[in-house]
Symmetry: C2
Subunit: 432 residues, 2 copies
């Protein structure tokens, strides 16, 4: 069951399509001031692309590049060919702005419709879009995709919880687009209003607007009695609909007919093997007005090895585990704090807080993880505590490939500043 | 210069088209539970329509009718044919909900594109949509129309004044959609940020989202150094784009190929002559999913007699002067408080406040208007004051066709409650 046959292409056919579209994208991009100059400097044109691997011959594009070209430097067409603009928020500094032609909006709406379909939304569904609209791509992105799929779309926007509940009940809303950090608050409000979430008409929640953990997803599913689906997108690549989970909930399918995804070591720029975490790099293949080539997203994830049970042939990325800027290098290994958080927060014994400490013994980097343990597990039985300590250390070693020291501490013993916990304490520079 | 040749049809051709579409609308409407029953009860079918005047043979539809049919009673098709829903806000009481098929959205976007074109917006313009999105039809209505016309559309949404200014400057925004009550505040903010509105790139403002006076328009034009255009729309008739000013700024052209507009006496239901104020009644001619026939808008306006200089042949309505529910009947004449407000507030001598008093002398209704006069005009020269009094009385008589008594009072002498002035004091019942 798929929306577009591009989702189930044989790998060889897909790569042929990618090569063709990449060449076309390079030709198009050469019409923009930025890429015209960059290609000249790097002696690039579309003829350098023979196989999909040749994408690696193209230079990266960074957020700083986009900023330096603000506002019009990446446009391949005259300004009056464009019909939409989205921009990162903020009034200080240079925003990044993305421009869309009508064809770009159509392509994006098609990708969004395909994405919604992948998680089980159908044209008979009634979708309430509970995210803000405006410059944020999540609102209009889901909105256009939902209409394109033919769903009855309720542009509820953010806020006004009571009205949201009334609309959901009055119109038998079956699908929600809801920000994950709002979803749990909303579940509480539904109960406060006297309704049991199990009795609500909803079935499917799209919660990909913010990075979140598997634990948060499970919590949302339990609290709202709903299936909740993650997705990935960023304004530079249109917005939502770059990669979407399917009903298997085992990673996000990259829509590879429209995007080339690479995962690289953020230090070296070289590809990492499937299964290893690195920085996601994206290239647009179907954007005509403002193609972007090898964009360094700074988002950290990994390709999930193997095939998805759903039958789609596209590569899947795992949930985002942080930003490349957060990366720690210990004993030559790249480690991301979110990897550690995901492991320990999934353990029932662990409380609200933890702290990663980096220090040096002699010339050797060491990592220690202080973990707050819930009171009922913080018992006097040393054997039990040592067992727990060892269990955490082993689980972490399996994930980060370095054995950390683990220190179990009591609830509320890790200091907080401004109510927010500091997650990493790097003592290596201090001691050096 | 027009966007669609429907705007300049000969009256006879237009009426032929209206008759054809009205018959089709009746046939469609008969598929909805509500109209099916209503037509049966009133013995109506499309064959009763021979000329456009026969629209008067159809029963009215009121807001209460819409409420009683909430949510699905007016739909002509199965729910899964619909892709959009807008609803009046509010969590108490029954909202009114309007459903759109994809074809309805396309028709609406075309009407909006035509509307923007009529006030001089072109595809080369850059339009910043500064109204809220969501269930309010103004946001998505203008957004879709602007994209349809081919303008670069910036979905800025409401609020965040500093960011609005930054976007306008960075992207050379030439057209704004701005709520009139926000526009004057915004002008002040622009100056506070150190910019002269005369130096801003904007040229055209769409300010039709709220009823406002000619005085407010002129103020906005002066303060923002912009041409500001009024328009008329309501959710029950899709949203914005029902009637729009042209660059002549002399009334709002009703898009009569899509809507039949009538103006009736709200008491008798009979048509009033052109030029006389009454309640606007609207019939959709191009809506397939949820046609509405002879909808009592409760909005008060008049047809402007004669032809517009722009060459468009459609009827024009004047700005909304209030709600039918506000109507006063004096000596058998219908009077609307906003008519009085418009006259006196346009006079330089008049201050912030006024009060309309209705009372009875013997069996005769009388109307007195107390008018606060600015200090510099409240002089000791009785002759000058009597002259002013007479001038106000004459101007009011010309507008409301009854000669009121006029009492000039000092600044701040009319009592306010909760900071808001009471505009009408009806003493007739008390004394009767
Ligand atoms: Zn799958
Ligand atoms: Zn005109």
């Amino acid at each position: 069951m798929y929306f577009d046959k591009a989702e189930v292409l044989e790998r060889s056919e897909l790569e042929k399509l990618q090569v063709e579209r990449l060449k076309k994208t390079i030709d198009l991009a050469a019409n923009s001031p930025y890429y015209s100059e960059s290609f000249k400097k790097n002696n690039i044109n579309s003829s350098v692309i023979k196989t999909i691997d040749d994408v690696k011959r193209l230079p990266f594009t960074t957020k700083d590049d986009l900023r330096s070209q603000y506002p019009h430097g990446l446009l391949t067409k005259p300004l009056d060919e464009f019909v939409r603009l989205h921009a990162s928020s903020g009034t200080t500094g240079t925003p990044t702005a993305v421009f869309y032609t009508q064809k770009d909006l159509d392509t994006w709406a098609d990708l969004m419709a395909r994405s919604l379909y992948a998680v089980g939304v159908r044209r008979s569904d009634i979708l309430q879009n509970m995210s803000g609209y405006g410059l944020f791509t999540g609102g209009l992105g889901i909105h256009y995709g939902s209409e394109r799929l033919g769903c009855l779309t309720i542009p509820a926007g953010a806020g006004n919880t009571k009205r949201q509940i009334k609309l959901i009940r009055d119109f038998n809303v079956t699908a929600l687009h809801i920000i994950p950090s709002f979803a749990l608050y909303f579940a509480g409000k539904v109960r406060e209003e006297g309704y049991d979430p199990a009795d609500m008409p909803w079935k499917i929640a799209l919660i990909g607007a913010e990075p979140h953990t598997e634990y948060t997803r499970q919590k949302i599913e339990e609290e709202l009695h709903i299936k909740a689906y993650n997705s990935y997108g960023l304004t530079e690549m249109n917005g939502p609909g770059v990669a979407f989970e399917c009903t298997e909930q085992s990673g996000m399918h990259v829509w590879e007919d429209s995007y080339i995804a690479e995962i690289i070591d953020p230090e070296t720029g070289e590809s990492v093997p499937d299964g290893e975490i690195g920085e996601l790099v994206m290239t647009t293949l179907t954007r005509e007005g403002m193609p972007i080539i090898r964009y360094r997203t700074r988002d950290l994830t990994r390709f999930i090895p193997g095939q998805c049970k759903c039958g789609r042939t596209s590569k899947r990325i795992d949930r985002i585990v942080g930003r490349a800027d957060d990366m720690l290098i210990i004993k030559g290994v790249n480690i991301y704090p979110m990897q550690i958080e995901n492991i320990i927060m999934a353990m029932p014994e662990v409380g609200q807080n933890y702290l990663i400490e980096l220090f040096r013994e002699g010339f050797i980097d060491q990592i220690k993880v202080k973990v707050e343990i819930k009171d009922q597990y913080f018992v006097e039985d040393m054997r039990a505590l040592q067992g727990l300590q060892k269990k955490i250390a082993n689980k972490l070693r399996d994930e980060i490939l370095v054995t950390p020291r683990v220190e179990l501490v009591q609830h509320d013993s890790i200091p907080k500043s401004d109510g927010k916990a500091k997650r990493v304490l790097d003592l290596r520079e201090v001691e050096a």
